[in-house]
Amino acid sequence: MITLDQVSKSYDSGKTFAVCELSLEVAEGETLALLGSSGCGKTTTLKMINRLIEPSGGRIEIDGRDVMKQDPIALRRRIGFAIQHIGLFPHMTVGRNVAVVPRLLGWGEQRIADRVDELLTMVGLEPGEFRGRFPSQLSGGQCQRVGVARALASDPPIVLMDEPFGALDPITREQLQNEFLELESEIRKTVLFVTHDVFEAVKVGDRVAILNEGRLQQLASPRELVESPANEFVDQFLGRHRFQLSLLTRTVGSVLGEMEIDMARPPAERPGDFLSVRSSLIEALDLFKRSGAKAAHAYDRQRFVGHLAKRQLLAAISQVLGEA
């Protein structure tokens, strides 16, 4: 658990603030999206947690311990860190990049090697093919996967991610976001995820904290944020994409939860086209458009949870339309 209590950062001894009296909590296993336009203080907030930046005031605690009273080196080695411009070391192989923190922690060679292979597999890179490659030989998406694997290398309970998918093309980004959600639902890390993209924030965040000029504007679940903005700024920030965002913040799971679940006839194998309970209504629409089917299978990871009928989906969308 990460707790920020009245945290401020000023670079000119109090005349202006990059971050001003920010208080929030990231619960164990939660993904909190820090959302705002550039210069709003979201990256500063992130870097204060692993002490790349020292706060000017307030208190930051991890599991109840003040970070300022801890050795910054040891602190950082317990926190996963991934950033936007990939930040892979160009002079190290993929394997060496992923192994950086385990090496710093002094793991044995065999344990490191096993862990590297395990992580590469986890992020969808075949270890035999990729571990000996250099970053210059990877695509942007592959680099980001390595970046995520590296952040998770020592299995840290907390992961800080600063726009990790920011430099990718939209298709690759969406793919990586989905993979991240799948991964996160498995490994349940406490994640602080910085982004300027409202779609990404509502998609990956269990909750979203929206910042402006260093001050917290609203901290809420994606759905609450979209449906009841706390102030003018949040309202402006969500802008004209309100309806789209509403569809994005509602998951297949929430629709199924409200409906009567048809548990009949689970298929023997997970089909190629399926919905996750975490898929948004937009993705569900996409799937129906693509497949032309009347109903789709819904899964929570490998577990079949039921069928979602096209008719049910459209009803849910009509309801959102009515609200908006």
Binding site: A74, G87, F89, P90, H91, M92, L104, G132
Partner: protein, 539 residues
């Protein structure tokens, strides 16, 4: 070619070794200074500090390398350090080589993407780990480029430190230049060029083996995890062992060189006459005493020799009274040779504890020269004879050709014309010193200026006129010895004074000629020995 190699091959090999040693040590020490300094500067928060230090290092760069070599000599006098030999040469080279290494280390480190450094820090690397695992590997190509620049520069500048008595291939080059022997110049210059190419190639190889593979866009994907880890560390061990071995070898060589100080160092400036006088004095001392004698020939000018003598880097060299008076004591020239000699003898003893022994006999001053075939029928023996002939207007009408310096100096042609009422019907032509003697011999001009003992006077069958009014200040040569050396080895005085009055203008000219002549030039040592034998100064 084969003859050249037989004569100078051994010298070339020895000097090549000296050159490599000098270059290697200078580079090693420069790196030892510049690499840590560059790291400190690049990581310092005080940007201004970096600007100041790089500024200071930059100051050395526009100083012409020759001037820097001289500057080190001057600074070393104040620090009371040796001004002749390997140490000042090494320091001059280091002063030169530090900058490119320092600048490239600094720039290389500053060029590393700050995001990469932040990630490394954010992952929990200590500053030292960030430096060694991330910053330095990424800056390596730039740093290596700096070292390669420094190497090529150092090899070039190392030829110049010959002038302060640090042995290098420059010894051959300067010997060749002063004697117009292109073969010798090439014998020094070509190996230096080869050396530069070789060192650059070796460093290129080293760079490639040290270079992180990912930096090389063509780096092949290798699926073998062990390979990248093990190979890197064994390579590093190899490099460390290699550097350590070279270091020990170089250290031993330097220690051996420094421990090898002979009882008496005989020096000389960078022209043939000085080389000969050095050989003559050295052979004489070797033959008549039990002292060990070392030679430091071809030093870059009067001040290098004089300062070396004061410091004790030399014990004796031949100096000229006029030079002592004007260049060292900064006094006006004196016409009377005896008065000039007395003045320098007394003042040098009082001021510097340096002893002028008895003059050798010749007077290497400016004079005028003509073709023997022309001067003798006209009966021209003195400056006054010449002035008289010119005033009489009789045939033949003589023409003159002088060097730019002689035309320009107030104590050159202008003063001479006034003192001897000398005027040529046509304005004297300005001639290149290298071509002047030939021009006279071939009859393009009739009268030229010359140094009285120049070997070419004999070579071209010219005669010199006597300065019967004593217009040109005397430049009598005499051994100049450290007082301390004489007290330690009192026998030196009597031995060197055996040369008193034994070398007149004619003799010196002939000795110079034998070394300088184009056809079948002889080695200075052989010429010196032969002279001493004929003069019955040695057996």
């Amino acid at each position: 070619m084969t003859e050249f190699l037989r004569e100078y091959g051994w010298d070339m090999l020895r000097l090549l070794g000296d050159h490599m040693l000098l270059t290697f040590l200078a580079l090693l020490i420069s790196c030892a200074i510049a690499l840590p300094l560059g790291v400190i500067l690049a990581r310092s928060r005080h940007r201004r500090l970096a600007a100041v230090v790089l500024g200071i290092a930059n100051v050395f760069q526009p100083i012409p390398s020759l001037a820097l070599v001289a500057l080190v000599g001057v600074v070393f006098i104040y620090l009371d350090l040796p001004t002749i030999g390997m140490l000042p040469g090494l320091v001059a080279l280091i002063a030169y080589a530090v900058l490119p290494v320092l600048r490239n280390t600094y720039t290389g480190l500053r060029q590393v993407d700050p995001t990469i450094i932040e990630v490394a820090t954010g992952m929990g690397m200590r500053p030292r780990q960030v430096l060694f695992q991330v910053e330095l590997p990424l800056a390596l190509p730039v740093i290596m480029a700096g070292i390669r620049i420094a190497t090529v520069w150092t090899i070039g500048v190392a030829t110049l430190v010959s002038l302060i008595g640090a042995h290098s291939l420059g010894d051959l080059i300067f010997r060749g230049l002063s004697r117009s022997r292109i073969g010798l110049v090439l014998g020094g210059a070509l190996p230096a060029v080869g050396l530069a190419l070789l060192f650059d190639w070796v460093l290129g190889k080293a760079e490639k083996s040290l270079m992180p593979k990912g930096m090389d866009q063509s780096g092949k994907a290798s699926g073998n995890r062990e390979e990248s880890i093990v190979a890197a560390s064994s390579k590093r061990v190899l490099v460390v062992v290699l550097v350590a071995a070279l270091l020990i070898a170089a250290g031993a060589l330097v220690a051996w060189r420094l421990a090898d100080r002979p009882d008496v160092y005989v020096g000389g400036k960078d022209f043939t006459e000085q080389l000969l006088l050095g050989e003559i004095m050295a052979i004489l001392v070797e033959e008549h005493t039990s002292l060990s004698v070392g030679q430091r020939p071809y030093l870059g000018g009067t001040m290098v020799c004089f300062n070396g003598l004061r410091r004790g880097d030399l014990d004796v060299y031949a100096e000229y009274t006029g030079t002592g008076l004007v260049n060292i004591l900064d006094e006006p020239a004196v016409g009377d040779p005896n008065e000039a000699y007395r003045t320098v003898r007394d003042q040098f003893a009082a001021k510097y504890d340096l002893v002028w022994l008895k003059p050798l006999g010749f007077n290497n001053t400016y004079t005028l020269a003509l073709r023997r075939k022309q001067a003798e029928p006209l009966g021209l023996r003195t400056f006054s004879d010449l002035a008289g002939h010119l005033r009489s207007g009789k045939a033949p009408q003589l023409t003159a050709g002088f060097t730019a310096e002689f035309l320009d100096r107030p104590d050159g042609y202008k003063g001479l014309a006034k003192a001897h009422d000398l005027s040529f019907p046509a304005e004297p032509r300005q001639l290149d010193p290298g071509l002047m003697y030939k021009a006279c011999a071939e009859g393009s001009v009739d009268v030229i200026c010359a140094f009285a003992t120049d070997g070419r006077i004999a070579a071209f069958d010219l005669v010199t006129l006597e300065d019967d009014k004593g217009f040109f200040p005397p430049y009598q040569a005499a051994p100049l010895v450290r007082g301390e050396t004489l007290r330690k080895h009192p026998q030196l005085e009597a031995v060197l004074n055996r040369l008193a009055g034994r070398i007149d203008d004619e003799t010196m000219r002939s000795l110079n000629y034998q070394v300088d002549r184009k056809d079948n030039p002889r080695r200075a040592r052989d010429v010196a020995r032969e002279f001493l034998r004929k003069a019955r100064l040695i057996d």
